[in-house]
Amino acid sequence: MEKRSFDTLIIGAGGGGLRAALQLSQAEARVAVVSKVFPTRSHTVAAQGGVNAALANVLPDNWHWHMFDTVKGSDYLGDQDAIEYMCRAAPRAVYELEHFGVPFSRLETGKIYQRAFGGQSRDFGGEQAVRTCAAADRTGHAILHSLYQQNIHARTHFFDEYFAMELVQNQDGYFLGAVAMNIADGEPILIEAKTTILATGGVGQLFRTNTNALVNTGDGMAMALRAGIPLQDMEFFQFHPTGIAGKGMLITEGARGEGGYLLNGDGERFMERYAPNAKDLASRDVVSRAIATEVREGRGVGPNRDHVLLKLDHLGADIVKKRLPGIRDMVMTFLHTDPADTPIPVYPTAHYTMGGIPTDRHGQVVVPVQQGAEEPVPGLYAVGECACVSVHGANRLGGNSLLDILVFGRAAANHVIEQLKEQRYHQPIPGDAADVALERLARWNRQGKGESIAALRAQLTKAMEDHCGVFRNEDVLQEGQQAVLALRERLQDAYIDDHSQVFNTARIEAMELENLVDTALATVSSALARRESRGAHSRIDYPERDDQQWLKHSLFSLEDLKMDYKPVRMKPLTVDSFPPKKRTY
């Protein structure tokens, strides 16, 4: 088997992976980026609305207000040291992007354009803030392409269209790289590294209707789980309020930031009832629950009263064309209507994984070891949606995910650069390091007849949608967990017919399904265990937040499906803590 050596291996080439890669390449570290798709195909490309930073280009602002909004948005489950770090680092992260060439929209002053977004205020819960820096409604595209371009300039080494299968570790638990497969010819490769950074993104493909790309199958989360690392806070899955009803394509929160609002079947602007101050720009969990409630109570729109409307036509064609050109194109393509004239049918749609691989604010993966709740795992980092720092807690604010990948991609790389100074040599790789990955490959080369991958995947996403959606309760979650466990068993009996070595997408999809099933189990099990309602996790049977019992992070391990918990870091780095308060918008 081919073997290559680098200082650092980065798995995933979305914004988090590319930001980290750039920092490392510029520091002259030897970096390899492994991605199962060409970097600009990564899902960061689909982010629309923008990235939060208190630049104060439009209205007065400061990072401390941003921090308050993020803590409150997280329903007090976010770690306040990491949130302070992120919000303070935000302006610099955005200015850096501008210097990299990101084509931000501009204000008349020539400064970066900023728009209003949900859950954001001035002066600790006062009037609406204007904090989200945007390149029209194609901010993710603009950022991802610029980061890739900068990496070309910095001569980062890419393994494009390589699928990472398993992490490699030695007996002391030190992570030493990964085994990947070249998709083009099916050849496995061992990539040895002094440090490995997981940047594989989220797992929106758990749900049948979602805003995510088909590649978002939680590969890094599942690799970490199988390597014995627990996943944190997986019960918190964000449903974006405005996916195109029945289809799932995302309509940015920026549409409401620009002045759009929601209407129910009676033509009522119903958000006024649920969030009298912020209205349509309340936090995403609040707006999604409001929409789901309107529909459940019979006030939906359409022949089946199964969605609501997002109205933009009052903004005028100029604003829609100039500020929201991407969603206008998309709606015209998929619905054959122009949002400048006709409201868009929308419904809450699976969007973002708040949970993930537990890390500290340096991106180091941390696990409980004996008395310590958060001991760094040597050689392993995680950044972006696959990680749980946790800056999003129980509910992420719009505009904070692009920020997360930039700030923690950079922070992890800086920490790695320091580590590399201490560690000059690679540790020896155990002789059997690649065995697990090779067994997994061989397993899909078996001949036989059995369950089909496509059918099992469809049943898994249906089960998750039916049992682990916006509203949850004990019985339904129990059923959901049993359904996922049963599917996991049946996956043992699945076969594929395609045994070609050349660009075998059937085999990739089979391995992606293995990853999906494990992350589904983490999600539904964590949701079943948490008997309270907090942020995106709404239990009908436990409708209140319970700080006494549940102001703590969940940790799910694959072994025996064990649940463990650890405290929330309530203490920020320099400012006073924001204690939990009742959350209203």
Partner: protein, 233 residues
Amino acid sequence: MKFSIYRFDPDKDAKPYMQHFELEESCIRPGMMLLDALLLLKAQDESLSFRRSCQEGVCGSDGMNINGRNGLACITQLTSLKKPIEIRPLPGMPVIRDLVVDLEQFYRQYRTAKPFVINEEPCPEVERLQSPEQREQLDGLYECILCACCSTACPSFWWNPDKFLGPAALLQSWRFLADSRDQATEERLSDLEGPFRLFRCHTIMNCVEVCPKGLNPTRAIGRIKELMVKRGL
């Protein structure tokens, strides 16, 4: 609904062939895109290979030749297509398998275009200023998704994929020439001199015809040529 799809797996096929596929009419929903149909066909025959990811026309994975015209499967309406629908890989590129082509040459030309801002001045502590009018110069350029529909529809690129940069890379050349923050105009234009890199474009305009994002590489190439002429004077 009938499909005729290009198949070739070098692991087992001596040469490429067209395979007939059929999708039950009952599977067809209104507003369905070609990619939805291909995913259903793949559920019938998992060996059918193609790239796909975002399903909404922003990642640029699923460029292919559809009834003789390059486009993205995920934003091509089934109803808009003449039946049987004939699907082939993007033309002029080496085929890896089925609808998957080797895009290395395409990416190499993109890298040749130096697609990054070059500015030797020290970075300010805040953003560099750019007026809305200056920023508007980048509209219609920065939106490129690198799907390769344009370059693989260009006869000049088919003949000289190693020498002619092709419409996608040249669109990027102009995107940075047009950026008020970029200072490398001279270097960029020098890089494009000679009979091939830029001047192989014969304004056939296939690129404009097929671009799924409605961009206009021919116009961008024209602007570069104008700049070249001005510089020569």
